[in-house]
């Protein structure tokens, strides 16, 4: 979203509704909601210019808790409805809230097309690797072998990685964060809000009822330094508590490798993050855990024309060339004849 408008100073409270939040106690969704409500005043969009559109699932209850315009739609279709909103009024600040099932299973098609068209919307995908609202079936991001109510002998599916999917769809902004890492998540949301075009944030979100501890190995504070890498544009790809490890390319196989930064020559070998490099973004998004850390941050970000702006351009071009259409002229165009 690029058209930041100044608004009277609002607080987090102005973005809360009078509705009881009905997520399970301890759900990661609370933290994401609190972050979004806190950031909204900082972004400076008037509440009435902001629309939250969601599909179906636990995460999709989100709009009911935001004191903006909100549309809780049907399973998987939020991106298509959000694009319709933008087509009718490109000035609006439109957010799509979805989950791994909503956005990548039933709604995978719409998400793909929303991203590749570069509609000026912000997608936040809550990835808990489980179907929560239907009480615990495996999702398209669940690991192979996952034992759930619908897969008692283990899921036979290979999972899809949301950030990889988004990069593959040519999204112009792809980031990844963690529900309980408030400062990082806030930063990602702010960056995505400022991006003109389709932005996609994958948030690892813990479902403490049906898939508790799914991300403990890198989500827990104690593990984060060693198990994650925070990527920042132009900076070396370092991780570890003392930044003692880094990422580099093995030139003969074009594969990533973990460097011991104490080793000779490591400082020259370590990669610098380049947000505009889709190949690097793809490699970072797909690093196998735990051999590699989980990449967090803005993996990919480029400028390209937005769908909404191009629609307007075409309309303006048509009006410039043909003038504003006159119905009478249209009805009387071509072959006509008069009966007296």
């Amino acid at each position: 979203m690029s058209n930041v408008i100044s608004a009277p100073s609002l607080t987090k409270k102005d973005f809360e509704t009078d509705q009881d939040v009905r997520w399970c106690p301890g759900c990661g969704d609370y933290s994401i909601l609190a972050n979004v409500q806190k950031i909204m005043p900082e972004l400076g969009f008037p509440r009435e210019q902001t629309v939250f559109v969601s599909g179906i699932g636990c995460s999709s209850r989100f709009p009911y808790y935001m004191n903006t315009y909100g549309f809780h739609t049907i399973h998987g279709r939020a991106p298509a409805i959000a694009m319709g909103v933008k087509a009718a009024n490109p000035e609006l600040n439109v957010w799509i809230i979805t989950g791994d099932g909503d956005g990548l299973s039933i709604g995978g098609n719409h998400l793909m097309h929303c991203l590749r068209r570069n509609a000026d919307v912000n997608v936040i995908m809550f990835n808990n690797r489980i179907y929560g609202l239907t009480k615990g079936q495996y999702s398209p991001t669940s690991e192979t072998g996952k034992i759930t109510k619908s897969s008692p002998t283990g899921s036979v599916d290979f999972p899809v990685d949301p950030a990889t999917f988004a990069i593959g769809c040519s999204a112009s902004f792809v980031a990844r964060s963690i529900d309980v890492d408030a400062p990082h998540l806030s930063e990602m949301i702010k960056r995505s809000a400022k991006h003109a075009g389709a932005s996609f944030i994958e948030v690892y979100q813990n479902c403490n009822v049906f898939n508790d501890h799914a991300f403990d190995a890198f989500r827990e504070k104690a593990n984060r330094d060693e198990a994650t890498i925070r990527v920042e544009h132009g900076k070396p790809l370092l991780f570890g508590k003392d930044k003692d490890k880094g990422l580099a390319i093995e030139p003969r196989t074009m594969a990533l490798k973990v460097l011991d930064m104490a080793a000779p020559g490591a400082a020259e070998q370590v990669l610098l993050h380049d947000e505009a490099n889709p190949t690097l973004a793809y490699m970072l998004a797909r690093m196998p855990f735990p051999d590699f850390p989980v990449a967090l941050g803005v993996l990919y970000c480029v400028d390209k024309p937005t769908y909404d702006a191009t629609l307007i351009e075409q309309r303006v071009a048509a009006e410039t060339k043909l003038g504003h259409g006159k119905l009478t002229d249209l009805l009387n165009s071509g072959n006509t004849w008069t009966v007296s």
């Binding site: 909100g70 739609t73 298509a80 319709g84 009718a88 009024n89 009966v339």
Partner: protein
């Protein structure tokens, strides 16, 4: 329609024979340009002042293998010096460009009708493909017709020699040669077609020159002694004064939506996914960006309707166009628009079903889908256009109802209306009623389901409006607050309110009138949609024979016109012809407890007048 065989009677004279009307069918390979030929012949008839109706019949394959029976493409026109309501039952003249076209169309040609054949296409291979063991031109099997067999290909190639086209391209001009000949037979002017050719093929001056040369050569050929017997004149029809144009159903529908944008002063956003036979509405609307029309070719049918719903939510006129299979996919989203009470127009250009069915053929079998094809109690307004030109007015009416009652409106047309065409009295834009749109801006007492007492519609409060921030969604909402509610009594109240709102539209819609015949009598023939012309003509003919029969036609299917029950009660019997296995008839029987009789036809083709006429006679005798 011409009487039995005036064409044959004309054999004995060289002067143009004056006819009350004629039915002509062009048939050939799908690559032979029969649709272009038919369209140009139509324009000429319209410009000569005839009333007319047309219907193309083409295969689903874009380029079916040449010479095959399933690759035959046809175009029929009925033009007359009197009112015309259908493309005609049986042609007086059949132009068959190859044996397959002859084989598939001959049975329809009237006895002693004029048969124009392209002999060069009657090769051994083509005869075999069409299933002829002997060339029918030579075995006297066509003796019951007035056969004019011409080597059209050879004549065409000779005529276009100077254009420099290669032989294959030159031969492709044969449809214009044939058109020229038909223009001579019916005394039509060549100029409008010449202008059309110049505009259409402007980038290829050689093709322009060749097609015009072929057209003129075919016309000149008419002067030869061999064919000069066949020269007819169909005088202009007496029709209401005004300015006319020819219009097809899909174009009329698209123009209706353009008009709705102007009359409501709201932008139109169309979400659509390509599907036969509805794609032309998308094509047509995509030309009108300068009218405030945005078209989005969606990734699928579901996205198409969702785009329209999102656009309506944000204050535009959201429209989606499709055909039966696409409508099936949109069902859940239409339910969302019903639950959230947003304006939405859904067009179903019906085709043969189920599943892929008959994509290029016509049918009316999606009425139940329109009425009931969603989960839950999900009523919406259903309208059906009666003729190609009526599609324009139905589009306007759908938008008016959608924005006034905050509801989805389903428009039913079909392949017959979509591709058929008729002369259309061009409306005076200044006299078209405005479509008032009211956006709520007052925060006082606002909630999203606060209802208008008269219409029961909820306020249209669009994003961007200060102090009206609110949340809507597919979960049931509380009648009094608009918040989520699982309360049992509230659900019943909301369900009844949604149904009551749709029922109220009847107060705001015209009453059902008798199209033809008396207000009461022995038999009412009740139709809906594209069967209008055939029923009207059949009922008129039966009345000329003294039968007590009347015709009424439904354009409003949900809710029905307020007086439908009364109208039904005034007749001893009710007959419902439909291009399905009996859908409207079941609703009529259920709603009004009358023993209405069904006359179903489900062949992918419209009713013939004579079929309905016969059925009426049979019904009244039984």
């Amino acid at each position: 329609m011409a009487s039995a065989d005036p064409q044959a009677a004309a054999l004995d004279t060289k002067a143009a024979q004056i006819l009350p009307g004629a039915v002509v069918r062009f048939a050939g390979d799908s690559g032979d340009g029969m649709q272009v030929t038919g369209s140009q012949f139509t324009v000429a008839a319209a410009l000569a002042g005839n009333d007319l109706a047309t219907f193309p019949d083409f295969p689903a394959e874009i380029r079916a293998p040449a010479g095959t029976l399933y690759g035959v493409s046809g175009f029929q026109i009925n033009f007359a010096a009197r009112d015309v309501f259908t493309p005609g039952d049986r042609p007086d003249v059949l132009v068959a460009m190859n044996p397959a076209a002859l084989k598939t169309n001959l049975a329809d040609l009237k006895p002693r009708g004029l048969l124009i054949l392209n002999t060069s296409a009657f090769s051994k291979a083509n005869l075999k493909k069409a299933g002829y063991e002997v060339n029918p031109i030579e075995d006297h099997s066509l003796d019951g017709y007035a056969v004019v067999a011409i080597d059209i290909s050879k004549n065409t190639i000779a005529a276009v020699e100077e254009s420099g086209l290669n032989k294959k391209e030159a031969e492709r001009c044969k449809n214009f040669w044939t058109l020229g000949l038909m223009f001579w037979i019916y005394g039509r002017k060549l100029e409008p077609t010449i202008k059309w050719v110049e505009a259409k093929f402007g980038k290829r001056p050689d093709v322009v020159q060749a097609n015009i040369a072929a057209l003129k050569a075919g016309h000149a050929y008419g002067e030869t002694a061999e064919i000069s017997h066949y020269r007819y004149e169909v005088p202009p029809a007496t029709v209401a004064p005004g300015k006319y144009r020819n219009i097809g159903g899909n174009v009329a529908l698209a123009w209706g939506f353009v008009a709705a944008a102007e009359l409501s002063e709201r932008p139109v956003v169309l979400g659509a996914y390509p599907i036969t036979p509805a794609s032309d509405v998308l094509h047509e609307l995509s030309r009108f960006k300068h009218f405030g029309v945005t078209t989005i070719q969606a990734e699928d049918e579901i996205a198409a309707v969702c785009l329209a719903i999102g656009a309506s939510y944000a204050g535009a006129i959201g429209i989606t166009t499709s055909s039966g299979p696409g409508i099936a996919l949109k069902g859940e989203a239409i339910g969302l628009a019903i639950a959230t009470e947003l304006p939405l127009v859904v067009v179903n250009v019906q085709r043969g079903g189920p599943s892929t069915g008959l994509p290029t053929k016509t049918e009316q079998a999606d009425l139940f889908q329109a009425m009931y094809g969603r989960n839950g109690e999900a009523p919406l307004c259903v309208l059906a256009a009666a003729s190609p030109g009526d599609c324009f007015h139905i589009a306007l009416e759908a938008v008016r109802i959608a924005v006034k009652y905050m509801t989805p409106v389903m428009i039913l047309t079909d392949g017959y209306l979509a591709n058929g065409a008729e002369p259309w009295l061009i409306p005076d834009v200044a006299k078209l009623p405005r479509i008032p749109v009211h956006f709520r801006t007052d925060p006082e007492g606002f909630h999203p389901f606060l209802r208008d007492e008269e219409t029961l519609s909820r306020p249209w409060a669009i994003p961007g409006t200060p102090e009206l921030m609110h949340r809507i969604g597919g979960i049931e909402k509380n009648y009094h607050t608009g918040h989520i509610s699982y309360d049992p009594a509230n659900h019943e109240l909301m369900s009844k309110t949604r149904a009551g709102k749709i029922a109220k539209i009847a107060d705001d819609a015209p009453e059902l009138k008798i199209e033809v015949g008396d207000d009461s009598g022995k038999l009412l023939v009740l139709g809906w949609g594209s069967t209008y012309g055939a029923i009207r003509e059949a009922v008129s003919r039966c009345r000329e024979r003294g039968l007590s029969v009347s015709h009424a036609h439904l354009r409003y299917l949900n809710p029905f016109p307020k007086n439908l029950g009364e109208v039904l009660a005034r007749f001893e019997r009710v007959l419902v012809p439909e291009m399905n296995l009996g859908q409207l008839v079941k609703i009529i029987r259920a709603e009004f407890l009358v023993p209405a009789e069904s006359y179903p036809k489900i062949q992918g083709m419209p009713f013939r007048i004579e079929e309905i006429e016969e059925r009426i006679r049979h019904t009244m005798e039984s």
